[in-house]
Structures are given as C-alpha cells and as structure tokens.
C-alpha cells in the first residue's frame, strides 16, 4: 500500500511537469493547429539558461528562474514569427516539418555551444523530505505539484475571464471569424506561444530539479510524452492537457513499479492507443463531425 501511494505521488510529480509542457502543446494546437515539435526543445533552452545563470553567472535561484522563463518566451515568440507565421496558409504538414527542422536546429546548436556531455544541475534546495501519513515525500515533489496546480488554476482563470483569454478562445474556435470580430489574431498567437513557453520555462526548472542533468537532447523525451499527454486528454483543450499529464505520469510510474521498467513506454503508448480507439478525440475532447 505504501509502495502504491509512493508511486502515486511520484506519478503526480512527473505528471504535473508533463502537464505544464502539455499546456504549451495544446494551446498552440488549439489556435494554429500545429503540433509544435520544437516545444520540447524550448524546455532544453530553459534548462540551459538556468544552469548558465546559476553556475557560470552565479545568479540567485529566483533570478535564474526568471531568466529561464524569459529566454523560453523569447525563443518561442521569435520561432513563431520567423518559422511558423509565413506558413500559416500552407498545408499543415509543411509547418509540421518546419517544426521538426526547428527542433533539430535547437538541439544541434546546443550541441555545438555546450557539447554533447550532460551537465549536472546544482542542488538548490536542501530541505529534508516531508513525512506525511507514514509517507516520505520529497520537498521538490510537493513544490512541483503545488506550483503546477497553481499555474493551471491561474491559466484557466486567465483564459476564461480575461479579455485576452477570450480572444484566445475565439481564435481557437474560428481563426478567420475572430479576425472579422476585430481580434488581432497575430498578437493573440504570439501571446499563446509566449504563455506556452513561459510554462515550459517553469517546467524546465522543475524538471532539472528532479532530474538534475542538462543535455542538448534532454527535451525530446519529456516533449514527446507531454505531447502524448495533450492528445490523451484531448488536444486543444486546456483541462485535457492537465488531466492527460497526470494520467501519463501516474501510469508511467505505476508501470515502472509493478510491471517492468523497460515496458513502461509501451504501456503508456498502449493506454494512448486504447483511449484514442475508444474515444478518438481524447479523454475530454468532444467530437466535431464534418458536415455533409
């Protein structure tokens, strides 16, 4: 029972990071219908920014976090303007390939600048693990889950209640009509990328606190998993990304504990396949059928 609860908590920890990254995928997809393959590498950009500012420049942790967020936002917005915006009216697969190109570019540029070897991330918090109902929970886990949950609530409120959030929802519903209603779609898309990347920046910081190794390809796997989480929950839907992230994280850590470490990826993909087959639009996606 204790093992189970521990794994559940671990799952929530990983899952909340997946959810943060998945939000970036899902928000971008919701508006421009683009699977932004470079999003995982934005995570890597954030991690390198954090490690450079912390270790080489000796900045305090909050300043490093801020730098990571800003760098991610900068990268996200610039990539959107240069690489994705010109392709908005092209076939969707063209922008998908461009995204793959951007992802390769980021990885190889990092490889050139920082080298292939992974760098250890310094330990920032020396807090003893919390004891809780006979469970031992590390402080980072609590912090990660709490920060992610808070951010998701803020995001949800922002999207539902603010004017910019309303513009985002309108643009994701129907891009062209939103334009006709006087919404500046370009600004809205930039904002979407910025928010998504800021969340990835925070996610990056939380990720390297848990897995303290920074390397050029570190973003691929969490990126892919977060993306799958977004699809699992129903891509384009913000609560879907959160749910998908948590489901992925918990499923992964329970499989590792009870079935097999090697097979954990297979189980995760298996869950994805079953969900998509039973409910093709994800856990909480709704079906939009083409009108004949």
């Amino acid at each position: 029972m204790n093992l189970f609860l521990n794994q559940l908590v671990n799952g929530l920890h990983v899952g909340s990071i997946y959810a943060l990254i998945a939000l970036g995928y899902t928000m971008v997809y919701g508006i421009v219908k683009l699977i932004n393959f470079a999003h995982g590498d934005i995570l890597m950009v954030g991690a390198y920014t954090a490690i450079v500012t912390l270790v080489s420049l000796n900045w305090p942790a909050p300043a490093a976090l801020l730098a990571a967020i800003l760098m991610c936002v900068l990268f996200g917005v610039v990539i959107e303007r240069i690489a994705y915006k010109p392709l908005r009216s092209s076939p969707r697969i063209s922008s998908l390939i461009t995204a793959i190109g951007v992802s390769m570019l980021l990885q190889n540029a990092a490889l050139l600048i920082f080298g292939a070897q992974s760098r250890p991330f310094p330990t920032l918090l020396q807090v003893p693990p919390l004891r809780f109902l006979g469970l031992q929970v590390s402080f980072i886990t609590v912090l990660t889950v709490a920060v992610s949950a808070l951010l998701m609530v803020i995001l949800q409120v922002f999207v539902k209640a603010s004017k910019a959030g309303k513009a985002m929802r309108a643009a994701s519903e129907d891009y062209n009509t939103a334009q006709l209603m006087g919404i500046n779609v370009n600004t809205t898309i930039t904002l979407t990328f910025a928010i998504g990347c800021a969340l990835a920046g925070i996610g990056a910081f939380l990720y390297v606190m848990a897995y303290p190794a920074v390397s050029p390809t570190m973003g691929s796997l969490p990126g892919l998993k977060a993306f799958i989480a977004a699809v699992l929950g129903g891509i384009g839907i913000i609560p879907g990304a959160m749910l998908g992230g948590f489901v992925m994280g918990v499923a992964e850590s329970l499989t590792k504990a009870y079935i097999s470490t090697q097979m954990s990826d297979a189980v995760v993909y298996g869950i994805l396949i079953v969900v998509l087959l039973v409910k093709p639009t994800g856990l909480i996606g709704s079906l939009s059928r083409e009108k004949v």
Binding site: I97, I100, V102, M104, L105, Q262, L277
Partner: protein, 619 residues
Amino acid sequence: MNKKTKAVVLNLLAIFLFYTVVTALILTGTMNNYLSNILITVLITVIMTASLNVTTGLLGQLALGHAGFMAIGAYVSAIFTKSVAMGFGLSLPISLLLGGLVAALFGMLIGIPALRLQGDYLAIITLGFGEIIRVIIENLSVTGGAAGLTRIARMSRAFSEDRALSSAIQFTFVFFITALIIASIFTLGRSRHGRAIISIRENAIAAEATGIPTTRYKLLAFTIASFYAGIAGGLFAHQTSILNAKMFGFNKSIEYLVMVVLGGMGSITGSVVSSVVLVALPEILRGLAEYRLIIYSLLLILMMLFRPKGLLGTKEFSMLGAWERMEAFFRRVFKQKQAQTRMPFQPRYDVWENKPVLETHKLGIAFGGLKAAENISIQLMDNEIVGLIGPNGAGKTTVFNLLTGVYAPTEGQVVLMGKPVQGRMTHQITMDGIARTFQNIRLFRSMSALDNIKVAFHSRMRYSTFSAIIRNSRCLSEERGIDVRARELLRVFGMEDLADVNAGSLPYGQQRKLEICRALASNPKVLLLDEPAAGMNPSETSELMQTIKTIRSQFSVAVLLIEHDMRLVMGICERIYVLNYGCVIAHGSPEEIRSNPEVVAAYLGQEQAELAQKEADDA
C-alpha cells in the same frame, strides 16, 4: 518517334547506363566500399520514402510509425537467414518476402483499428504503435533483447567469396528490387485502385458517395506501404549486419516523413530525389563536421518556407505521363497487338415502370433529443423529377444523408427498387443505384475532370490490384473502356475539352456540372441533387434546368432535388414535397404547393401567410 517517347527511352537508357557504370566501378574496385555502401543506403531510403508516400502522399494520411514496419521486416528477415541453412542467394530473397509479408500483416492488424481515426489523431496512434513495436522488439529474447542481433550475413560479402563481385551483386540486387517497387507504385497509382486511394485524399466523403469502399482502400494503401517498408528493413538488416531496436525509433520515422514532404507529398519521383539528396547531403557536409546538422536543419526550414509543397508538389517527372507511351513504344517494337477495349459492365436494372423506384416509410433520425427528421414517407417513381423544398434547417439535406446511408435512420426504412437498403454502407448504396451531389461542391479537386469521372466507374471495373501492378491486358482493356465511357459522359455535358483540367480550377458552374456528371457515372437509378442551382445566375439556372431534363430522358433516372430557386423547382418538378421542422408538411403538384396555405406559412410566417391569403381572396 515523337519527342516524349524519346525522352522515355533516354530516361531508361540513363537508368541502365547508371546501373552499368556503377556495377563496372564496383567490379573494378574504383568505387570503394564506403561509397557503394552509401549508394545502398540511398536505395533503401528510396524504398522507405516512396512507400511512406503511398500512405502520406497518395492516401493523404499522416503516419508517424513507418520505421516500426521497417523494424519488423528487418528482424524477421535477419532471424530467417540466420536460422536456415540455405545458400544466401536463395535465403535472402525468401527472407525479404517473409519480412515484407509479416510487416504487411502487422500493418493490416494495426490499420484496422487505427484507420478509423483521421489527421493528427491517426498520426499519434501510428506513432504509438511504432514505438510499441520498438519496445517489444527490445524486450523479446528472439530478437536479442536490448543488445539486438549481430553477425547477420552481409550482402557485400555473402554473395560471393570475391569482395568486389559480392558488392556488385549486392548493388544489382538492391537496385532492381528498388526499381521494381518504384515501378509498382507508379502502375498502381495509375490504376482504378490508385485513383480510389487518391480520391480518399481529395475528399473522403465524396469518395464514399461515389462508390469507393474507403475503409478497404485505406487499409490496402497502409498494408502495401508496410509491405514495402518490411522489404526495405530486410535489405537494411543484411546491409549493416547488426540490428538494434533503437535504430527504428520515432526519429527514424520522422526522418522518412521529412523526405516525403520535401520531395512533395504524392510525388513518387519527388520522394526518390529527396531521398538521394538527403542521404547524400550529410555525407557531402561531413567535412563541416559539427556544423553539418545545423546546416541540414536550416536547409530544411528554409526549404519549407520557400517551397511549402515540397520540391515537386504532387507532380511527377516526365515518367508518369510517359509511362503509357513507353508501353506503346515497346508494343510497336515487339509488334504486339493493342489490348482490346473492354467496356465497363453495365448493371441491369429491371424495368420498373409505374412502381416507385425509391420509397421511404416513416423515415426519421434523432440526434440526441433533437429530431432532425421524423415520419418521412416519400415516393419517387421511375423517370420522375421531384422537388424537396423547405425553409433553411427544415431537414432536407438530412433526408439526403439518410437516403445515402451517411446517417443511419433511427426509425423507418428506405426501399430502393423493392429492396430495403437497411444497414448498407454509403458506397454500397451508391452501387445499388442512388447517386448524389453535394450542397457545398465536393470534387476531387487536384484530380483532372476526367479522373473525377473515372473514380465513379470504379465499382464497375473488375481487374485486381495485382493486374494493376503488372498492367496486364485485362487492366489495359478495362482502362481503355472507361476512358471511352468517361469522355462520352463529359461530351454529353459539353465538357470534353476540359477533360484534363484539374477539377479545382474549373469555373464554379462547370464544377457543379462535373459533380452531376460524376454522380451519373456510377449509373444510378435515382439521382439526388442538393441545391444544384446555388450560386448560379438566371441564365446558368435556365441551362441547368435543360440539363436536368436531358439527364432524366438520356440516362433514365429519377431525380430528387433540393432547391431554393423556385423558378427551377416550379419549372421542372412534376411533384414537390415540402419539409418543415423535419416533417413533410405538404406534397403535390407545383400548383397545389404554390397555393397551399401551410407552405406559405412555413416560408413567410403565419401572419404574412394570412395577409397573402386575404390579398388572394380580395383579388
């Protein structure tokens, strides 16, 4: 010899020359092992890319797990040659075929559930399956687990004791397999099966309504692609001599997808060109060491920004158009006589005078609590033109969707020529004799007008996929037959000059006409026209009225049409059904309908109707 035939002969000569020169270079040892190895990699990549293009380019479905099928083929083939005691020259071809078949089997098993999804969701699910294949291979003992397989016979050594000779045989072997596969994709693409696959890419709903069993063809394309990927995998295994599941990850699938898109989705020659370039490019850039991949990815981005549709778009080199000319040329050379022209077989309908060809009994459908259509009983006599009118949202198109099986009715039934069509799929209903057009035109836009019609002849042709690939006389004669028929049909509509124009670039009025023409090509007994006059000016509408009358007498069909243009409806319909809120509120001759108070009320509102009635009475 005309210019194009010359071009083909030159192409063939070039291919042959290329082959001979390379073989000679290998035999004399001028081309070292490193270079010939790259060449083999190029050829294997060509197979992978061209086969992925069948799914992604021709069928139009994004697949992200292609490397998984390559892995299956590679492992099956390697395990086979490692475990049987046979001469390599025999065991290799068998193992490749086996690898291809097992990969095809998996392709089919995965395709059956996965192909119900579309677009990005299909992409993700294929990604998932591809990764699962990889993880499972990594954890099986027969595949060597995480360590993988080693000491697989190497083609560059196993064919012969002599290194140079073995390399040359390897090149010959791989070169001809690649050539055969590419040729088969070409011939398949130009057959009725290929047209069916492409029509799904263009418009799946229209394809189904034109008589294409879309589910089956999606599966066919997916299975063929997996089969070829399996063969490529087998070749790969015997090129590298070691296998590891990590070689076939998600990134590998992406790599092939990139090549397909860069070459142009739907262009097989584009795939060939991009495979050659993208395999060679990193090798050429090798001198630049660490900048290599940066340049590569920058080129990728720039390429997409400036040519979003890829190098060749959906176009092919001279080869595609010239294929038939080449055949004609060889026929002349070998004095073979031309294949016969076999006309498509015509379904025979019983003479059905004075009985309804189409009847519905209390037909209805509810979406959740909303009854979109209710208690609809209509009859259509042979050779009759009947109108279906009603205000917006009355459920007219819903009735069409019920008649054609797009929606399954929740109550009542449809009877076509005395037989209930309950539970039939849309494409089967089309073959039974109901054809339709769509309110918002659904043509196969990037196919020629002629090919649009030919798709509709699909169900009346009989030649198999295999005939299509080898282009035997059966295939050729049937193709010639439908070419004649399709052109005849275009001539009836005065569109014979537009046969080779892409449907998407036709003017609006012609597109409407082409859609009617395509519906007629499936030889229907009942033709459903959904707002044929929408967007037409008065003179075009008059022309359309004439056309509909001509169709009725020439093709002996009953016409049921939805239309808002009252001049057209009153002008040509013999009877009219009026629909409001999903129910038939009136039915009768145009005169009866015009003076029916309920109908006037439905269109103008109760108050206005009373006013109109009063005015009529006063007058």
